[in-house]
């Protein structure tokens, strides 16, 4: 049992929920992460799952996922599962286990902003995040993490995933001891072709062990040329030096740099295969 929890509030409107959070209460969505961390001082928890934030909808060329949607609900939502050759569904099957995915929510996951296979894929797809910090806001997920927005008091309300159009492909690769384990490294990519030429690319590497971030040098190495084997090899070589690898108890920095090249190569080959 978590001691030091003095109250568990279940508000039904976001103004009330945010007021509590602004006052120091800790937001809880699925709660699978919050329940693992003992609090140093008396803490109030605020459950967000009573807010009207659940569900997935298609809005033009976007999949809009409400924050309290579980990973399982995303996995079984046909339109979401079909995005970019099924990259979201493939990735979600490799995240934790059904026992975790049935509870963990997308909003809680992106609000935590660490230990993630999900976020690299969202970043590769140029997703945006919606949140409430007194007013409703939206910004790119990459920008949100770059300014460490997840450390501010706020309520994530949703994630919007643009659906890549014809001529685009995405891929995800995770390297871990078992699927249930945290990744030692992961990689996600999205490549947009204009004819035979790469017009845009996202190469994201995560669990370096930092949160996934895109590698601009890798992306630049692809844009303007064909997505052929030599371009893929060049990009993988760039990745080996561009991955911001560090040592931790999962792997050494050197091992991660080597893996970075391998996973970027495999992702790009997957994407190239899907574009053929």
């Amino acid at each position: 049992m978590l001691d030091n929890i003095v109250a568990f509030e279940r508000p039904t409107n976001i103004t009330e929920a945010f007021a509590a959070i602004a006052n120091g209460a800790v937001p809880v969505s699925g709660g699978t992460d919050v329940i693992l961390h003992r609090r140093r001082s008396p803490t109030t928890l605020v459950d967000l799952t009573g807010l009207p934030l659940a569900g997935i909808s298609r809005v033009e060329n976007n999949i809009v996922v409400g924050a309290t949607t579980t990973m399982t609900e995303m996995l079984h939502h046909a339109e979401t599962a079909a995005v970019a050759n099924g990259v979201i569904a493939q990735m979600l099957r490799e995240v934790g286990s059904p026992l975790l995915r049935n509870v963990a929510t997308i909003g809680g996951h992106v609000a935590r902003g660490r230990l993630s296979d999900v976020i690299p894929v969202l970043l590769a797809l140029d997703s945006t995040i919606q949140f409430h910090d007194g007013s409703d806001k939206s910004e790119s997920l990459a920008g949100f993490y770059a300014r460490e927005g997840h450390r501010e008091p706020l309520i994530v309300t949703g994630v919007t995933i643009p659906v890549p159009q014809a001529g685009s492909a995405a891929a995800f690769r995770k390297f871990s001891r078992t699927r249930f384990d945290l990744a030692i490294l992961n990689a996600a990519c999205r490549v947009d072709l204009d004819g035979e030429t790469v017009s845009a690319a996202r190469i994201v590497v995560g669990e370096t062990p930092a949160l996934g971030a895109s590698l601009a040098a890798c992306e630049a190495s692809l844009v303007g040329g064909p997505l052929d084997e030599s371009a893929i090899e060049r990009c993988a070589t760039v990745a080996a030096s561009a991955v911001p690898a560090r040592d931790d108890d999962r792997a050494s920095a050197e091992y991660r740099r080597t893996l970075g090249a391998v996973l970027v190569r495999r992702c790009l080959r997957d994407a190239a295969g899907r574009l053929r």
């Binding site: 049992m1 978590l2 001691d3 030091n4 929890i5 003095v6 109250a7 568990f8 279940r10 809880v28 709660g31 699978t32 919050v34 329940i35 693992l36 928890l45 459950d47 799952t49 399982t72 079984h76 099957r93 934790g96 286990s97 059904p98 026992l99 975790l100 049935n102 509870v103 078992t178 699927r179 249930f180």
Partner: protein, 154 residues
């Protein structure tokens, strides 16, 4: 604080602490099939069905269970054993038995949503259920056999 929960179809009100897990509340309410293996969501031996989905009860705040339906292994058999239970006995899928309640409830979630799973789907489903007797082969056989029995195929 007080929550109203339904366990195996029986409604009950229980006083809980705001930081307490559903696993702890169920265990002290004498649903001791809900095993405390790790208390951190690694092992799956505390799995229960919460509104029909298998969850690690150790990772769910009891306060969130208010007004919801919980199923534990105590409620699985009716007059006869459930097909998951009889198939487990027939396949020799139970060794020490500690992981069995969580494994069968996780399998029940699968079979209620996917009546005819592939072996790979069964394996993926058990990703978060540890058996330290290293007995995965027999449980997988048992779940596939139970699926067939539940479909009326045999």
């Amino acid at each position: 604080m007080r929550v109203a929960i339904s366990v195996n179809g029986r409604r009950t009100e229980v006083d809980i602490e705001p930081g307490e897990s559903l696993m702890d509340v169920l265990r002290r309410s004498e649903y001791t099939s809900v095993k405390n293996g790790c208390d951190r969501g690694d092992c799956g031996s505390c799995a229960v069905l919460l509104d029909g989905r298998a969850v690690n009860a150790c990772l769910v705040f009891a306060a969130k269970a208010d007004g919801r339906e919980i199923r534990t292994i105590e409620g699985l058999a009716t007059d006869d054993l459930h097909p998951l239970q009889s198939a487990s006995l027939d396949a020799g899928a139970v060794q020490c038995g500690f992981c069995t309640p969580g494994m069968l409830l996780t399998a029940l979630d699968l079979l209620e949503h996917t009546p005819d799973p592939t072996e790979d789907e069964v394996r993926e489903t058990l990703a978060g259920n540890y058996c330290r007797c290293t007995g995965y082969v027999k449980p997988i056989e048992a779940i596939l056999e139970a699926a067939a029995r539940m479909r009326g195929a045999r």
